[in-house]
Symmetry: C2
């Protein structure tokens, strides 16, 4: 393997993890950064959450969303995944010279409407322009800060054997929507990205299940299988998934079959996994199902004692098989 | 003019201001964002500062620094400019496929050493990779959060007639260092970027002058003239600059003469302007001069009653002339 960055290093899978561990954390590791949760929690005058993500999705408009909506949702969702209420977002644009004002206008309108939907505001920003051919239309970075109620302690490290794994709906929609749009594919019914701000549904979940919520994580790059592997590793537990319980829409399933993609590894942008103590699982599930973003919510698996650091899946056909993390790149520039 | 983004929209001058006002703020303006200070101040469990900047400097290594050092200093400095003590930084990388690990390694080592110099840490991050030819080696976004002591109220809106304008040292070094490096120019003595974290010297200034410090701003893109115009506009005051008092190194002056550049419009990355009440100006100046980053500090002008929103300069030759904001692009991709 050459000592250069490859597209696969941006995949969210094992190669991403290794790149971050070897080329980034090796230089700047500290106890906060090294927790590798979706947002940093800073102990300063109350508990503060702080997160960042750059968005390089191609194309910048896709069915069900665009790079602006994605940038707002992604960062709101990362804050939500540590149980924080978003306080403010930053928005930093890197624009390729020649981008039509009309395009930027549409993106910014989408940023605005998505902020309104999530009940957050952009509070600081930056704009840079680079020469033609030195970027690809538009890249967006959003960082976010949020506050965390004192009794909440949510982390990928907190899952315990017996906990239930909840998921708020159909998987793989974002990845398939972007990919079919990019490749100009059409299916009988148009597949829309699930891109949505999750802070509202997470708030409802926390009201219903409170301190019984151990871990939250949104399965973006790398998909559900990669996200569950991260939780299994961070918590030092096994996870057993029930294939028949995982919600997948028929169009997405058909598209994945045709394209040879495993939906468990395809990115989502409006889904999250909640690891919940067993005694609170039913109350948590009811709370999810009452929210518009959780009508198809279900319990898709549980945390187990054995198989530490591994994810197993009990398949529809009977046998149980291991589900590894994504290796390499499945769908480049999906977010 | 075509309805597309031009390189000049990234200049930090009037075209940047207009782009932000018309294409960005028009969609997402709110009282916090619209203050247009270097960092957002959020009233939540104590006063929090939050800022973001993307770095697209070309080349990524230049005399006196690199894109990693720049990204840390830039965001630490933006926090310092609202009187905040940095609490944590985010670091988001957009990497062009093919970037050698060795290059990334050098940049990350520089991020680390600059963080150590500033006494801050990166607490959250993100890494994306795009195809060859869809970015230019490496872009970095850093966001930062900081806390502000309760009695501090520093803003570009607070300058009052009679206030003194302080500057901590020689101007135009960063812009000239990057430009000569990019163009392969050599001068008799090598000009180094002034890129440095300003939180230490700002802390010393605030200890010496406290609430007498009205405004702080670092003259990055657009240079000293543009920064003073911003303060004059935000505060609704005039500013009178004394040309003979502005510190400029001989090499930089020679380079500017040869290149036909006005150093007042060239970017700095380790300089700041402090607007200080007249009774505290001498104490403030002494504090600056005691710090290694302020040995050449001076009082370069004052806030005046008339000429609201304008910057005037009393020239070496006698006459007083207006100094407008930068229009268009002077040095693209300088930070």
């Amino acid at each position: 393997m050459q000592d250069v960055v490859l597209l696969a290093h941006g995949s969210g899978g094992t190669m991403s993890r290794d790149l971050v561990a070897r080329q980034v954390l090796s230089h700047i590791a500290n106890p906060i950064l090294s927790r590798l949760d979706d947002a940093a929690v800073l102990d300063t005058e109350g508990r503060l959450a702080f997160t960042t993500d750059s968005y390089i999705v191609d194309p910048i408009f896709f069915p069900g969303g665009d790079i602006g909506r994605l940038a707002v949702c992604g960062t709101v969702n990362d804050l939500s995944m540590v149980g924080a209420t978003p306080v403010g977002l930053s928005l930093a644009l890197i624009i390729e010279e020649g981008l039509p004002f009309e395009t930027l206008d549409r993106i910014m309108a989408s940023v605005h409407s998505t902020c309104a939907e999530a009940g957050v505001e952009v509070v600081t920003g930056d704009t840079k322009v680079v020469n033609r051919g030195k970027a690809d239309k538009l890249f967006i970075n959003t960082a976010g800060v949020g506050v965390i109620q004192n009794d909440i302690d949510i982390s990928g490290s907190n899952a315990r054997p017996g906990d239930k794994i909840l998921l708020n709906g159909h998987i793989a929609e974002h990845g398939i929507a972007v990919m079919t749009s990019r490749e100009g594919l059409t299916f009988s019914s148009k597949i829309q990205s699930d891109c949505a701000p999750l802070n509202g549904i997470v708030r409802d979940l926390l009201q219903a299940a409170g301190k019984s919520v151990r871990s939250l994580r949104d399965p973006t790059r790398g998909g559900l299988a990669t996200t569950l592997n991260e939780i299994a590793t961070q918590s030092g537990v096994g996870i057993l998934l029930e294939e028949a319980a995982i919600p997948i829409g028929n169009s997405v399933r058909a598209a994945c079959d045709m394209l040879g993609l495993d939906p468990l590894y395809v990115a989502n942008e409006g889904k999250f996994v909640a690891v919940v103590a067993p005694e609170a699982a039913e109350a948590a599930l009811s709370a999810l199902r009452r929210h518009p973003l959780g009508t198809h919510a279900g319990i898709v698996g549980e945390v187990i004692e054995g198989r530490k650091g591994k994810v197993m899946m009990h398949t529809r056909l009977g046998p149980t098989r291991p589900l590894s993390m994504l290796t390499g790149e499945l769908l480049p520039r999906i977010c």
